[in-house]
Symmetry: C2
Subunit: 340 residues, 2 copies
């Protein structure tokens, strides 16, 4: 049942919008009894003309009837509304979730895919697909796109395809080495994405666990500097969001830092920064690349993460307030809504 809607959404992206529109017209008429066109239009926030088009259409289908007193729902229409209820619940639960989250955190777009990435590989793939679609939507000609590492980002890379709009784009890692395993780190993801889309890429080879002195001389290096400049002038960032402790463990952060993270209440991690539940940055990984202050200037910040267990972490990063677009799954979205 849910799959069929999801498949249709792939083939007709605005199917649900149309269904929702027509459903709410019918529903409104049902609860109003008899109602006039203009009244209905203002109450549904539509122009009179476009409502009229829909009404004529629904009348054609025999779901609606009208006489001089106004419009009324027919028996077929009432029956249809009843039959639609379960579909509406499923279909618009998600869009409602999307809208609620977007409103609560001031995002320009939220995409929620059905399922739970924690328990379903299919959902994880869906998340990647949706993330790739979001990136494709926002990218413009010759953009610089900064990306992070992680399994979700790898899924996005998987779902990118050659595309003329990304041909001139540059993919760069948002920040230098963060201690991830090689196939999940930002450098790898950036190069895969570039290969998949036909774009170009530059990498940031910053070894982990560098001494302060070596580090300072490294970031003076003109080649490194060039990439860092590119990163900071990017127009789009796509990044994953992780649970702070999980990330710390995966990156083999030393015991002292871990304790300090716990003491500071670190909950979430994104591009090497650790956030507490209120969205404050409590720690950052020692490497080069994107800084927090760069985010304000960056036009499109796309966060992609899912799974019930990550919901709270996502919420805390959203609370930090630099995101524009969120791609997540249903389970995480429900968790996010618990923390508004």
């Amino acid at each position: 049942m849910r799959e069929i809607l999801d498949i249709q959404k792939q083939l007709l992206p605005d199917l649900l919008d149309i269904m929702k529109k027509r459903y709410s017209i019918l529903h409104h008429i049902l609860v109003s009894g008899v109602v006039g066109r203009r009244t209905l239009a203002s109450s549904l926030d539509m122009t009179e003309r476009v409502l009229r088009g829909e009404v004529d259409f629904l009348k054609e289908l025999g779901l609606l009837e009208s006489d001089a007193a106004g419009m009324r729902i027919t028996e077929s229409g009432r029956q249809l509304l009843e039959d639609m209820l379960p579909i509406i619940k499923i279909a618009f639960g998600l869009t409602d979730l999307e809208e609620s989250i977007a409103k609560a955190y001031g995002l320009s777009q939220v995409i929620v895919v059905p399922g739970d990435s924690d328990t379903s590989d299919f959902t994880k793939k869906e998340l990647g697909r949706a993330g790739a679609a979001a990136l494709r939507k926002y990218v413009a000609k010759d953009d610089i796109i900064a990306v992070t590492g992680g399994s979700t980002m790898a899924q996005i890379a998987n779902n990118l395809a050659i595309s003329s709009s990304m041909k001139g784009s540059w993919f760069v890692p948002a920040r230098g080495g963060l201690g991830e395993s090689v196939d999940m780190q930002a450098n790898t993801i950036a190069s895969i994405m570039a290969k998949k889309t036909g774009g170009k890429y530059r990498l940031l080879h910053v070894p982990d666990h560098l001494g302060e002195e070596a580090y300072q001389s490294l970031i003076q290096d003109p080649q490194i500097q060039e990439v860092v400049d590119a990163v900071r002038s990017c127009r789009i960032v796509v990044h994953g969001i992780g649970d702070a402790m999980v990330m710390a463990r995966r990156r083999k952060v030393d015991a002292e830092t871990t304790r300090s993270l716990q003491a500071d209440g670190a909950l979430a991690e994104a591009f090497g920064y650790y956030f507490d539940p209120q969205g404050n940055v409590v720690h950052k990984m020692p490497t080069v690349g994107l800084r927090l202050e760069d985010l304000q200037r960056i036009e499109v910040v796309i966060g992609v993460a899912g799974g019930k267990s990550k919901g709270e972490a996502i919420a805390s990063v959203l609370r930090h307030g630099q995101e524009n677009v969120l791609v997540t799954d249903e389970a995480a979205a429900l968790e996010i809504m618990k923390h508004v």
Copy 2:
């Protein structure tokens, strides 16, 4: 699964057409490997421009990719096609059935609703809804519409609603008394339809089992004659189709006639005429109204009947060759296709 498609079809009648179009484009590309726009257009029987529109759209969604060599399906696209298979089977089994029947019997439109009216009341209602929709589609201003009796016709009447296009229409019974019970007979149906749509009606009060002499004087009656003239000049006929023996029993036809019907191989019944499997008329009920020769002149003949048990009967009436539109259900449609 099937219900959801059916509900959507009510709210977006051309949903399936669009899905079919996009599916066949993707499918064609999948089997072709790489293929050019013009080649594909001619092979799918589309103009190049409209195909291009679809292709651009599918490319936008990442289901398709193209380079100078031609168009190729992406992994997401291939996956989608795979996921779609069950939906396609269900959705286009019916449209394929519709097209096959229309072609086999030279009908201008066939509508197949899912299910079996014999076993499901829901399907019976659907049949009524579809029949009403078909009538609504073909009716024009101030038409004369001749209707017959029967439970299916009663369902159609149930699903008609007030409509400006039928306000000036006349509903008349196709033929006089045919021995049906009062709530199923053509007179009743015609008056219900008129009341439901806001149209007008004339009735044919011809008592059953009339002596020859009384009969002759009755049909000379100016008032009766007037209605009969109206019936014969109608532009639309909507009629049910029944099993010959079932109808004979229901109408309490005398034993001798029943034997004669059996001897002549009567299989089907429609508006008082009995048909053998080859579509020949082998008997007619003694009453006034529509004659077979009138059918040729009538612009729209709509037959509505469903249920697996009626499939063969429907096929024999279709074979008679005067139908334009058939509304039936899946079970009957499958039976009909066995008798081409």
